[in-house]
């Protein structure tokens, strides 16, 4: 078992494609054979639109996790940005409201990053606090009310098509390309791997680790806010409970994509594969009329199984003492 798995990694090392894509394609193939409607263009673009919310957040989360940090506050930021963008549009106009929503995400990312940098408190704790606090902020701002978008152009945008694809799918794919470029071809991307791989070495090499981390938290804050706004354009509304447990789904997608919790390894392409894997599984099982309850069990089991396979494949010799 382990041997075949190891030969699988050798195979995947020859190609540039992250191993999760094997799984993603296998799922796609499986559902193409077992269901009638899966491989239709309409359904495939549907999957892209459905996954764009978690996908956008996952792009930012990948960068933060490659850095060796984590952000648990993204779900709350989704709700805050959506509430601001929808709630303020009758007062200050749609575009300024969207700008305020995005700005709130970037500002909270800045705050998280500065706290992690300056106090030295672990990002898990800082963003756990922010997750609770920002959700409180949402409830205080909305007074527990849902907001409805009065500007119909806003809700039309979420349902619109551009060049044969849902506009939101373009937004997601566009930002995926941008982030892939950032992580593979820019100094910032190279630094992200360096800081996550060996923080001390990165410091000694002259990377301004603190500032770098703050920028990354602002990136994930921006993407969480953007995801909140695109989600609210789809619904034409925002609710204070929006985005609950999104942090967990996002981390699941990113980890499936091969990004290490300890930092230093991972890729945007892998994350895209992870996001699509979840999207395809949900969609395909839905088409096969698997009850939604079983989908939760299956997704949880797959996450653990992928972790297990990954460990078997990547275990470098016998570095660990067995007891």
């Amino acid at each position: 078992m382990t041997k075949t798995l190891q030969s699988l990694t050798h195979l995947s090392r020859l190609t540039v494609v992250p191993p999760i894509w094997l799984f993603t394609l296998a799922c796609a193939l499986f559902f193409t054979v077992t269901t009638d409607n899966f491989a239709e263009i309409g359904n495939l673009t549907n999957i892209l639109q459905q996954t764009s919310t978690i996908g956008l957040i996952a792009l930012g989360m990948t960068v933060v996790m490659i850095n060796g940090n984590i952000d648990l506050s993204v779900g709350a930021v989704v709700a805050l940005a959506a509430s601001l963008a929808v709630g303020l549009q009758s007062d200050i106009g749609t575009l300024p409201a969207v700008a305020v929503g995005l700005g709130s995400g970037i500002a909270l990312g800045f705050l998280n990053g500065m706290i992690v940098w300056k106090t030295g408190v672990d990002a898990f704790i800082v963003t756990l606090g922010a997750m609770i606090g920002v959700r409180g902020l949402v409830f205080v701002y909305t007074q527990e009310q849902s907001f409805f978008a009065m500007d119909f152009a806003y809700s039309d945008f979420g349902m619109s098509q551009t060049l044969g694809l849902p506009t939101l799918a373009w937004v997601f794919l566009g930002f995926t390309v941008v982030m892939h470029w950032v992580m593979t071809s820019t100094v910032h991307g190279r630094n992200a791997y360096a800081v996550g791989g060996n923080r001390e070495a990165a410091l000694n090499a002259g990377i301004r680790v603190g500032r770098h981390m703050v920028v990354n938290f602002m990136i994930v804050g921006f993407f969480a806010a953007l995801a909140g706004i695109t989600l609210s354009t789809q619904m034409g509304a925002s609710t204070p409970n929006l985005g609950r447990e999104y942090e967990l789904w996002t981390i699941t997608a990113v980890v499936l994509g091969g990004t290490k919790l300890t930092g230093g390894a991972g890729s945007i392409l892998g994350t895209l594969g992870g996001v699509l894997a979840i999207g395809i599984l949900r969609n395909g099982m839905n088409l096969m009329q698997v009850p939604a309850f079983y989908v939760l069990v299956i997704l949880g089991a797959i996450l653990i199984a992928v972790l297990f396979i990954d460990r078997q494949v990547n275990r470098a010799g016998s570095e660990e003492v067995e007891a």
Partner: protein
């Protein structure tokens, strides 16, 4: 020489400033807690009453009981994010079985089933050495699904709420103190003794502090980690008894989000997420701070949600002070 020794005793009698600083470092969270209580007492007359205090204890008993078990997991160097889903599962199961087979068998079956889930966590993290955050995240989703499959998405409740002795766990009082409070504090005392006075307790600390060293000194690390997940499953079962008995019914997602509030209480108490340190006393104080923040702010007339904002600030401040005192300076020097 002689003059030195004669001068020494009076100096030792009086605490010096460095002693005060040392005490603040060691017992920072306790001091913060006491200051906090005093401040709230001035702003609200009802706050410092016995009635109010016992209400807070009852309110925090569910999160507190779960936090005790999670503290053991965290001391062992791991996380357990599945306790929220597990609480939903155990509560739904015990409430549903109550009417079908009677309270005692229902409790027995629920205990076994909950421990079985804990054992799955324990095998995956302890024996297979998988990352605990991801494993328990996956289990969070899976247990949620299992709960929904079991109940078919329906809420469950107990029909004859007056007649059953099951009400004991959530609604009764013993010697003027609520039973949930007895369960919470009783388990805290037992766990504290086990952690500090037994070989098992020392092993948990050793495994969390330095797994490699623990292994080399003959501790069977996998078994110890496995056992910590059984402990957190057990405390979650106890919390489910309190919750099910208090509400006499259950929604499928009743425990949703509990895992992170529980973790907040553990962190607030000062147990390090790195493992190898922490105590039940700290966790009890951490959970009580969460409870008193909520209670105090409500008495002062703030909205329910205001407590979350204060919790945000308090969590970061508490851990920051802890980190800063170990570092010896307030801010990091990282560029």
């Amino acid at each position: 020489m002689t003059s030195d020794t004669t001068g020494a005793p009076p100096r030792a009698m009086l605490p010096t400033w460095s002693d005060v600083g040392h005490l603040a470092q060691r017992q920072g969270i306790l001091i913060a807690f006491i200051l906090f209580i005093i401040a709230f007492s001035f702003t609200s007359e009802r706050f410092a009453s016995w009635d109010n205090a016992s209400t807070v204890f009852r309110q925090v008993s569910i999160i507190g009981t779960m936090a005790l078990g999670v503290t053991v997991v965290v001391i062992g160097g791991n996380l357990d994010l599945s306790v929220g889903s597990m609480l939903s599962f155990a509560t739904v199961l015990v409430v549903d079985l109550h009417d079908k087979i009677g309270p005692a068998p229902a409790m027995a079956i629920t205990l076994v089933a909950t421990l079985a889930i804990g054992a799955v966590n324990g095998i995956l993290v302890g024996f297979l050495r998988l990352n605990s955050l991801i494993v328990t995240l996956g289990m969070l989703s899976a247990i949620q699904g299992v709960t929904l499959i079991y109940s078919g998405g329906q809420n469950v409740d107990i029909t004859d709420q007056e007649a059953t002795w099951f009400a004991f766990f959530g609604r009764d009082f013993l010697l003027g103190v609520a039973v949930p409070t007895w369960i919470f504090l009783g388990l805290a005392v037992v766990f504290q003794i086990v952690l500090t006075r037994t070989a098992y307790g020392r092993r948990v600390f050793a495994v969390g502090g330095n797994p490699m060293a623990a292994t080399f000194s003959g501790i069977r690390r996998s078994y110890v980690v496995f056992s910590t997940y059984l402990v957190s499953a057990f405390t979650t079962f106890c919390a489910a008894l309190i919750l099910g008995s208090r509400v006499m019914g259950s929604q499928n997602n009743v425990g949703q989000g509990y895992e992170l509030m529980v973790l907040a209480g553990v962190i607030l108490g000062g147990t390090s997420l790195l493992g190898g340190s922490g105590s039940m006393v700290k966790t009890v104080i951490g959970v009580l701070i969460l409870g008193f923040i909520q209670n105090g702010l409500l008495l002062m007339g703030y909205q329910y949600y205001a407590q979350w904002l204060v919790t945000w600030v308090v969590i970061i401040l508490a851990v920051w002070l802890d980190v800063a005192s170990k570092r010896g300076r307030l801010f990091t020097t990282t560029t």
